[in-house]
Symmetry: C2
Subunit: 190 residues, 2 copies
Amino acid sequence: MSPARAQTSQAAIVAAARVLLEDGGLDAVSMAGVAERVGIRAPSLYKRFDDRGALLVAVASDVALDLGRVLADEVARAGDDPGRQLEALASGYRSFALATPRAASLLFAGVAPDVTPTPESQAVAARPVLDVAEAIVGPVRALAAARVLTAFAYGFTSMETAGAFRFGGDVEEAYRLGITALRSGLEATA
Amino acid sequence: MSPARAQTSQAAIVAAARVLLEDGGLDAVSMAGVAERVGIRAPSLYKRFDDRGALLVAVASDVALDLGRVLADEVARAGDDPGRQLEALASGYRSFALATPRAASLLFAGVAPDVTPTPESQAVAARPVLDVAEAIVGPVRALAAARVLTAFAYGFTSMETAGAFRFGGDVEEAYRLGITALRSGLEATA
DNA sequence: ACCTGAACACCGTTCAAGT
DNA sequence: ACCTGAACACCGTTCAAGT
């Protein structure tokens, strides 16, 4: 008679998946593990997500929205100088990526096939970068410059968190060198 | 009596895994699939590799050695100007990454945990980049500059092959903008 | 309308047995 | 020394049955 009432929610499922992801990597995000964390059984997850891929897309999108908030905050607190806003975006993104590296790995390059944030959530994360890029290089080159900045920050932190910088040296200094070089190089083409 | 003779080799197994990887992604590199391609059964693979992770490390290392050859060739054909050598490295890497995107995705950031080329093979791939970087910014900053260039090229092509550039625009032009900005920015700090 | 146990096909891995 | 079938634990997913 009384139909079974919901014992969880999409948001709770995504949150549980993010915890498992950050704790144990993508392999640790099993349907059974996620279900247990929200107090149900694996088959019930399919009432809310088509399959594991759809759940991971929701996770990636959730991460992108978080990043968008962080980056917008950074810009807001950086004052009016576009160059300083760019530095704030760069260090803000790196902090985000180092704090939650496995979440960040889902942001741009499909770790698993087709696991990427939705276009809408990606647009939220990209907004502050596009605004700052436009202030530096103008509207015509804004998209290209934003892609350049994102690619560098994403590539660098991905390599850093994966342990790919194995020949010593000061990694943070290298990041700053890259940002400085990009900033002066982009300002020169403005 | 006559002990079973080898029906395959490490190199053949790695080659088979690379074909499956490029055709169907990392999930398509199953032990059974690889084994079938070299004419044996899955359990026999464990005579040559500790586990699937070790096989993937061998694949990633094989890719890194290929990349090292490609990049060294690019530099050799670019003449003596370090700035032009840098451009050649950048376009050579992008061609490599677009031609074999799933192989390239194994090069720097662990798609799966701990799947990265061996330090030795990574050093081979890094050598041409370090040499060109040193010619541009000098020995003290060479390592940092090489990391910056690698991070940008890797990050950009990873995003490109994952389809992360979804808001239109000329993607190749953005890549060139990034390389140009980095080149002029690094030359300015030399 | 949501939840569940049982079942299916698939996967990585181990191991005793073969040659 | 290498190869194999059988077995194990695990996974994503489906589905009929429950409330």
